[in-house]
């Protein structure tokens, strides 16, 4: 039974989200903490260093950590307020169980464990092992990501494990593996400082990775030209040298046309292309018809601006290209990534000082969490679960027979589809809130309601957890030691500031006990997080993501170590490809032809407006934590529909008017924010909210054929003005995700 046990408002009343604020005089002990714990922010892939103030086993505030080299004390509003997730009134303090008509009631750990294990056994015996699936996330440490990969295959014995990076980094990973044979940003951010030209494509850096802004501004102080590709004038674009307001879905047409200009003008590094790459001829052939006129039509960007961008890029001596979800959340996400990489390879500007390329990983451990077996097709060290040699090596590390290791399973959204079809009957999830974060979430809700048993490990009762049969109270970021890998590939140390409150337990301990009760206890007898990391080091050894030479001590001594780090005496690798030895089978960097194709749903008479989605600076992902922090909620209380005044005029929409947005999948109402900072043919809604305020009621579940990422960034919608202003009372409660 994965239906809500009682009405949503009853659940909200008891479990929140409620907004937490710091008392006017501060939390008790904030001014005289027992200790300051050096750790990192729990949110995005920047993983800024921060010190948490601890008094009586409670986090009571923060103090900037000036010495951590990436951010030197700098933080965004989420980082400043992140300490409020600890000691929060909504915090789950022990396991709870769904009771029909009553909600959730506390149960003992013994009961929660035995009920879960008996349901796993019942479902697997009746429907087969793969009918019990696992969904995970990457706001958790490398140690937990690794253990979850092993838990699903060794204890749960299911092929169906996947993670929320499927909504985040997989298009970049797919493209990078094709082109370079390895999935990591090619450079540390230090290489931005003296890049002559910087392209930022589909990355709202100032709102989603605010602390990276400083690096961009530093580069501009040094003379860099900044090119921003985005349908909106995001804060970074306001003063950019060139803003290319691409129509959502037009990215690969833009980059294809730019590649043609590079070739036509011979702005190419022939030595690099001839000696260190393959596929150049076919790739150029694929863009031979991509004229400026054609590109202008596909992208909505004036041809002369495309020419200017290509000229700046073509003539530069040093450069850095950054992209993020804006070009990756597409049915051609991998194509978009490859079309960016083609521009980098054509000019040979990689593996050298101030010559860089990389995706900006979104989630806190989006990098590390996608390397060590957390994905349905992957084993630790970024190995391939279908490769016999890789399977053999990991089976040995795990002490199991290779034949007992499940094969490739379904990706995250495919799992939801399989649940909906009735093929998957049971689910365990950790660190994932798909009811807010997946597209077409009315479909996701229908799927969840079909589950025979759903057990969720979380610190708060998220929108998805409301549908669980059992919720096990797990740990927050600051309650368990481990490591994460930042967006620049730097492995850093997360320190335990406090122990989990009440009866809540560390996630790692919950998984170990479940493994034991499932009969695999001998494979999960870790005494500490460091124990798990040391096994991960061996499991990753020889893989592309090689952590063997990294130890906890080395991380602390060096304020982080960049992988690959294959041996204890290796210093780590901030800049990849200096040796020009790429990790592809032929050792070369691969150009990939990218023929342009349209998005899966294009506008028509019925649905004439492009809808795109994204984030705001005060919220993080599905908001499980940040929609519970008062000041972050108050800064941007509800999702607004950004709309250009010309489009608004056509519908008679004025600022703050309520507008119903309809797509083929659902409808929802949003207050209009009439702004000139968006394309005239496109509307934008941020996605952090659930329930009736959720943008993902509207988005489409079409997937990229390679990465299986959903197309969050483009679909077709129509607008119906409601004829009255949005009500403040609705605004004030949007954070709760009521239905």
């Amino acid at each position: 039974m994965a239906k809500l046990p009682v009405a949503t408002d009853q659940l909200i009343k008891k479990f929140g989200p409620h907004k937490a604020y710091t008392p006017q005089s501060g939390f008790y002990g904030a001014h005289e903490p027992d200790r300051l714990v050096k750790t990192h922010c729990c949110y995005c892939g920047m993983q800024c260093g921060i010190q948490l103030k601890v008094k009586d086993n409670k986090v009571t505030g923060f103090e900037p950590w000036m010495e951590f080299p990436f951010n030197e004390g700098r933080l965004c509003p989420k980082g400043v307020q992140r300490y409020l997730q600890n000691n929060h009134p909504d915090r789950l303090l022990g396991p709870i169980q769904r009771v029909e008509g009553k909600g959730f009631e506390p149960v003992s750990w013994e009961h929660a464990m035995s009920k879960t294990v008996s349901e796993i056994r019942r479902i697997q015996e009746k429907y087969g092992n793969d009918a019990f699936a696992m969904l995970s996330g990457v706001s958790i440490t490398n140690e937990k990501s690794y253990m979850i990969g092993k838990f699903a295959r060794v204890a749960l014995k299911t092929a169906n494990l996947d993670y929320n990076g499927r909504l985040c980094m997989v298009s970049a990973g797919g493209g990078n593996k094709k082109a370079f044979g390895l999935d990591r940003s090619s450079n540390s951010w230090a290489d931005l400082a003296h890049a002559e030209v910087i392209i930022v494509a589909g990355a709202n850096i100032s709102e989603t990775f605010p602390t990276l802004t400083h690096y961009i501004w530093q580069a501009r102080d040094n003379g860099a030209k900044l090119i921003v590709v985005d349908p909106r004038v995001i804060p970074l674009a306001r003063t950019a040298d060139l803003h290319l307001p691409v129509r959502p879905g037009g990215d690969s047409a833009l980059f294809g046309a730019m590649l043609k200009i590079l070739a036509d003008n011979d702005w190419l590094d022939h030595n690099f292309i001839n000696n260190y790459t393959s596929g150049f001829e076919e790739t150029i052939a694929a863009v031979k018809d991509y004229t400026l006129d054609w590109a202008e039509e596909q992208t909505g960007i004036p041809g002369e601006k495309i020419m200017e961008a290509a000229t700046l890029w073509g003539k530069a001596k040093t450069s850095f290209l950054l992209h993020a979800r804006g070009i990756e959340h597409h049915t051609k996400g991998v194509d978009n990534v490859l079309s960016c990489i083609n521009l980098v390879l054509a000019t040979g500007r990689i593996g050298k000082p101030y010559c860089g390329y990389g995706t900006i990983t979104g989630q806190g451990n989006g990098q590390g969490g996608r390397e060590h077996g957390h994905k349905c097709d992957q084993l630790p060290g970024n190995r391939d679960i279908t490769n016999p040699e890789h399977r053999k090596y990991i089976a040995e590390v795990w002490g199991i027979d290779e034949k007992d290791m499940p094969g490739k399973g379904l990706t995250a959204y495919e799992q939801i589809e399989a649940i909906h079809r009735g093929e998957i009957k049971g689910l365990i999830s950790i660190c994932f809130n798909p009811l807010v974060s997946l597209p077409n979430n009315n479909f996701v809700r229908e799927a969840l309601e079909k589950l025979e048993f759903y057990i969720c490990i979380d610190s708060f009762l998220s929108e998805t957890a409301r549908h669980a049969d059992i919720v096990m109270a797990g740990s927050l970021h600051e309650e368990e030691e481990g490591t994460v890998t930042t967006a620049e590939g730097r492995v850093v140390k997360i320190n335990e500031a406090v122990t989990p409150p009440g009866m809540a337990r560390r996630d790692g301990e919950i998984l170990m006990e479940l493994a034991e009760k499932l009969g695999a206890g001998d494979k999960f007898s870790y005494a500490s997080s460091e124990d798990i990391f040391n096994e991960l080091r061996i499991a990753s050894r020889g893989g592309t993501a090689d952590y063997y030479g990294i130890t906890y001590k080395k991380i602390v001594d060096n304020m982080g170590v960049f992988w690959p780090c294959p041996s204890p005496d290796h210093p780590g690798t901030p800049r990849l490809w200096e040796d020009r030895k790429f990790k592809t089978p032929d050792g070369k960097a691969h150009f990939n032809p990218v023929p342009y194709r349209p998005a899966s749903e294009v506008t028509d008479k019925e649905y004439p407006v492009v809808l795109t989605t994204g984030r705001v600076v005060s919220q993080y992902l599905s908001g499980t934590s940040t929609r519970r922090i008062g000041k972050l909620v108050d800064q941007y209380p509800e999702p607004l529909l950004e709309i250009h005044p010309k489009l608004a005029f056509r519908y008679g929409i004025k600022d703050r008017d309520l507008v119903r947005v309809e797509t083929r999948r659902g409808e929802a109402e949003f207050p209009a924010q009439v702004v000139e900072t968006i394309r005239e043919d496109t509307v934008f809604i941020p996605y952090h909210w659930g329930g009736k305020h959720s943008a993902n009621q509207l988005t489409i579940g079409s997937l990229d054929p390679v990465s299986k990422i959903p197309e969050f960034k483009v679909c077709a919608c129509r607008l119906i003005p409601m004829g009255y202003k949005a009500l403040d009372v609705i605004t004030k409660t949007a954070y709760q995700s009521g239905l």
Partner: protein, 189 residues
């Protein structure tokens, strides 16, 4: 007894062009134990309908502070380091003269407390050799705390300006704003 370690060569610079409107400064400012969760720095959109541009307003710490000059209770004073302190709570009578007099619109009257509150350049931090909280966390470094030499070296395209003209009145401040090269004074009107 804590020793005052105020670095007089350190100064505060504001560069509106770098501001990304994230509000980290406000949230960090409010954390200060003397501020009672109220921010003394304010970020606002200039005109959101047209642009994402934001401004950030912090106390400019005037050389000849109008707020102090008009205070009938002598509650506001400028110290030997040039920091204009928030009103002395035992003297402030909540008259709002300072609120009306400040050309930058900085002091705010806290109605509940009947007191004026404003930025004191994080005196608890700056007097102990640290940076103010807002300039520490500012992710874009639109707020910078350091020496004039440092900022001139790091940001060669702009220049710090700390002289303002409001009509016929010239106001010189401890805090500088970053302006295009060649600017010496900001003429407000």
């Amino acid at each position: 007894m804590p020793v005052t370690d105020y670095h007089q060569e350190m100064a505060f610079f504001v560069d509106m062009q770098r501001c990304i409107g994230c509000h980290a400064c406000e949230m960090a400012c409010a954390e200060c134990e003397t501020n009672g969760q109220e921010s003394m720095i304010h970020v606002n959109y200039v005109n959101r309908a047209e642009s994402v541009q934001t401004t950030v307003q912090v106390c400019m710490h005037c050389e000849d502070p109008a707020c102090a000059n008009v205070c009938p209770a002598d509650a506001i004073h400028k110290d030997e380091f040039g920091v204009v302190h928030s009103a002395n709570t035992s003297r402030c009578i909540g008259c709002s003269n300072c609120v009306l007099a400040c050309p930058f619109g900085v002091p705010k009257k806290m109605e509940e407390a009947e007191l004026m509150m404003k930025c004191n350049m994080c005196y608890d931090r700056t007097s102990a050799g640290k940076k103010p909280m807002c300039a520490t966390v500012c992710p874009s470094q639109a707020l910078f705390y350091g020496t004039r030499e440092e900022i001139e070296r790091m940001r060669p395209d702009s220049v710090p300006v700390n002289s303002f003209k409001f009509g016929k009145e010239e106001v010189n401040t401890k805090v500088s704003i970053m302006m295009p090269k060649g600017t010496h004074q900001l003429i407000v009107g």
